[in-house]
């Protein structure tokens, strides 16, 4: 990946007296093998899945347990040193981008499944547990962990919690936030607190909701209590081929309007079908302007009845071929095209940007037409692969970084796609998070007052802005910054409070 690289590498032992003090203190307490100062080793953590941003961390701590994390965070708090937590590093928004004069807390060695309570349908896991590892451990009892980002074989549950990860099946099963009922947190002051637990709907503030998706800016999660979902009795999958994206969009709307909630409705356009076909020979129908992959799961009797409806609705919306997977092998082949699409696009273009935006499902046809127009105007090809059921677009903007101005043109189109999302009342990110990459776009989606409320919450947890600084917010608020602010004065009251009189 080329592009917005901002490597500011040298940073050897240097980095200032505060970081040196933290490093020395932690080495004494945790031992030298847990505190990594060697530049080559630190450099392996310089980016996450969005390799466009690279920063070598000042020092790396390999945490074994919550006590290690608390000790590290307390040391940072005492010396005013920033810290960033990192799981498997598969994020796509630079959420785990290190700080050159800060501590990177690597959580990936904390990967024990602490408890599986099949009766209560809960598991308690370390943050470094791999998403698919939990499903593997619970499937003998008939359960699985429902959030399924495409990185699920390597990504950590702690990272899923930080970014509120989604996946192909969140239309029916929701995002990570819908599957977390409790968290142990080390606050930026180094306190260890428990939020939530196994029981649903605890009293008091639902801070669990605020923490899931807070991208490491409110503390470091050291344990997660998550829901286990019953493995479905039956899964049925079909591929429907349409002449146009409009027809496929209409089928999507018709299915939802009929009250059916499929486990997944995925759409691919002609360019992404072509790329997938070349790469993995998935045998999708010739002449398709768009395909839908629709999957139903649940109780056998339910699935059978609903599946007939879905076939009928696809045909009524103009599908010229509907292919139903007869067995697991055919089902795998249908998914193979969809799952290989991102990598496949790499075969037809030297470089590409994966955009992530959300629109209301009903706006799909208009927005996709506008994306095509945007690309045509800039001479840039865009392949569309996305979660149609919940309007979560993943346009792949293709370019050749060796050509003059190609990066800029591609970035222009990628930015224009976010404009379209916002114009239609959608969002600048669906499931990849804001991270370092989209902080600059936040003021386009939120007013200054909206952002001030979020920052006030951040200040409540982290007044020194030490927890993953530079992520989410474009201009970090210094919590004590306003001149003449009296102790106890309201941090939100920018607007005069006495306007009535």
């Amino acid at each position: 990946m080329p592009g917005r690289t901002s490597d500011q590498a040298p940073a050897a032992p240097a980095a200032g007296a505060a970081l040196a003090a933290v490093t020395a203190g932690l080495t004494a307490v945790l031992g030298g093998d847990r505190v990594v100062t060697d530049h080559a080793r630190r450099r392996t953590y310089e980016c996450d899945g969005l390799a466009a941003y690279r920063v070598v961390p000042g020092v790396v701590v390999l945490a074994r347990d919550a006590a290690d994390v608390a000790a590290t965070v307390r040391a940072c708090a005492a010396h005013g040193v920033p810290f960033v937590a990192r799981g498997s590093g598969t994020g796509l928004s630079g959420g785990a981008l290190p700080h050159s004069e800060g501590v990177l807390v690597v959580m990936s060695q904390m990967r024990d499944i602490r408890e599986i309570d099949a009766d209560a349908q809960r598991a308690v896991v370390d943050p470094g547990v791999i998403n698919l590892q939990l499903t593997a451990a619970t499937s003998p009892d008939g359960h699985y962990f429902a959030p399924d980002p495409s990185s699920q074989s390597v990504c950590s549950i702690g990272g899923n919690v930080a970014e509120n990860s989604g996946g192909a099946h969140c239309l029916k099963y929701g995002f990570t936030t819908n599957h977390v009922t409790g968290l142990d947190l080390v606050t930026p002051a180094g306190e260890q607190v428990e939020i939530g637990g196994k029981a649903p709907d605890p009293p008091g503030y639902d801070l669990l909701g605020a923490l899931v998706g807070s991208e490491g800016t409110l503390g470091v999660v050291t344990s997660a209590t998550v829901r286990l979902t019953r493995l479905p009795q039956e899964v049925r999958t079909l591929l429907a081929a349409f002449r146009t994206i409009d027809d496929a969009g209409a089928a999507t709307s018709a299915i939802i309007a009929a009250g059916v909630i499929p486990a997944a409705i995925e759409m691919m356009d002609a360019l992404s079908i072509e790329a997938a076909e070349e790469a993995v020979h998935c045998g999708y129908p010739d002449g398709a302007g768009a395909v839908l992959v629709v999957e139903l799961d649940g109780h056998s009797a339910d699935v059978a009845g609903e599946f007939d409806d879905v076939v009928r609705l696809c045909e009524a919306s103009g599908a010229f071929e509907v292919r139903v997977a007869a067995d697991d092998a055919e089902r795998a082949l249908i998914w193979k095209g969809r799952k290989s699409a991102f990598a496949a696009v790499g075969r037809i273009s030297p470089d590409y940007i994966v955009q992530d935006g959300v629109i209301p499902r009903t706006a799909l046809p208009q927005v996709l037409r506008r994306i095509t127009e945007l690309g045509d105007a800039a001479g840039v090809r865009v392949a569309n692969v996305f979660h149609a059921g919940d309007g979560n677009l993943h346009p792949l903007v293709l370019f050749d970084g060796s050509q003059d101005g190609a990066v800029e043109r591609a970035e222009g189109v990628a930015g224009g796609i976010l404009d379209l999302c916002l114009e239609h009342g959608g969002s600048i990110t669906g499931e990849h998070g804001v991270g370092a990459d989209k902080a600059k776009h936040m003021p386009r989606m939120f007013t200054a007052d909206d952002l001030a409320v979020m920052q006030a919450v951040r200040c409540a947890f982290d007044p020194e802005t030490l927890a993953n600084p530079g992520k989410i917010f474009p201009t970090p608020r210094l919590c004590g910054e306003r001149p003449g602010r009296r102790q106890g004065e309201h941090p939100l009251s920018e607007a005069g409070v006495a306007e009535v009189f």
Copy 2:
């Protein structure tokens, strides 16, 4: 209802200079007919559905729109006067209990449904809109508003948001928090901000989750964007009669374990069956130690298949009679017994306390046995009517307030039931909220650090503790209170931050 009444009525125009200034200012701006100072009129707002607590508000403002609310809150902020928002006043935890020297902001005249977007399955409503009013308005389009507290024909959606209300169907459909995607909020400083919107999963902090259920302590909601749910194609209901509560509990667990998620699984014990029978002659089977009302809804094909499973599982767990509703009239009769149970208990006992607690579903049999033992030991009868599917108990503790010591004995048993919930990893409230009534129990469920984190968030919104003071937290934190605290010092860092060194 007798009991813990704390009427401190006199409070005429008195109430201090600050309140007088607010009253005068608001009267000038909003007009005298919107600002109620007459004692008899103010007194009509002295309690909510938990009549055990009564406080006559210092002044009452009848808000017409968000601007009225913002003006009122800004006036309160300028003069340090507390304010409490109130919807229909049907809450059961004293969450809308007024402040004798504060402003009660009555939201019930803001009851327009602003927008119904059937395609996007969203509605935008004023906070005073009645829960069932929204369902009535959207059912012609095939939708309804899923949260269904038993007060749904009179309670307001703003109140549902404040208390995160549940209902008989939240096993399948979740609580209010699962049906709110956007809120307009007047912060305690009087700012008007938008949180969320129509699109799912916005970036930044999920403050929506923290606001829903915050019981009016983080500001006043002036608009809610909510999900509309497709009316099910089919609804089927059965009544299963068991000899013992253990058998009914086993049936509940077996149904959930089979992967079926009914819309509702409600349980009644022998005493509540007896009361309902006397009151409404619902014709429940003779000799039942417990009955389950199980309702399935959804796609017709699904419901048919699952319903057979439920019947079989009930019989396998010892049901001696399973009665399936053949039509709407029979369905209504089955529900009549359940829905009348609370009122019916009033016929067999002069007074009762409705408790609200949660336990893991798997602990139902043990906890219900212990409740019986607690009642027997104190010579107090307890009727159990509850949402079995999600472990949300509503024991009715019966007593006769005219007998010496009866109130205390009943309160002892009600408190003991909460102890049982906590012992089993449950919660001190399921759907009625903490309010004024259960603030004292919060430290039994949360550590001091846990509560400090919540209070820090409250301080971020409301450092002067003017928004619904005295609710949720047993000992309100004064946000600037710690001696010698430096500006910018961490509000959470009670535990020394430098322990490592």
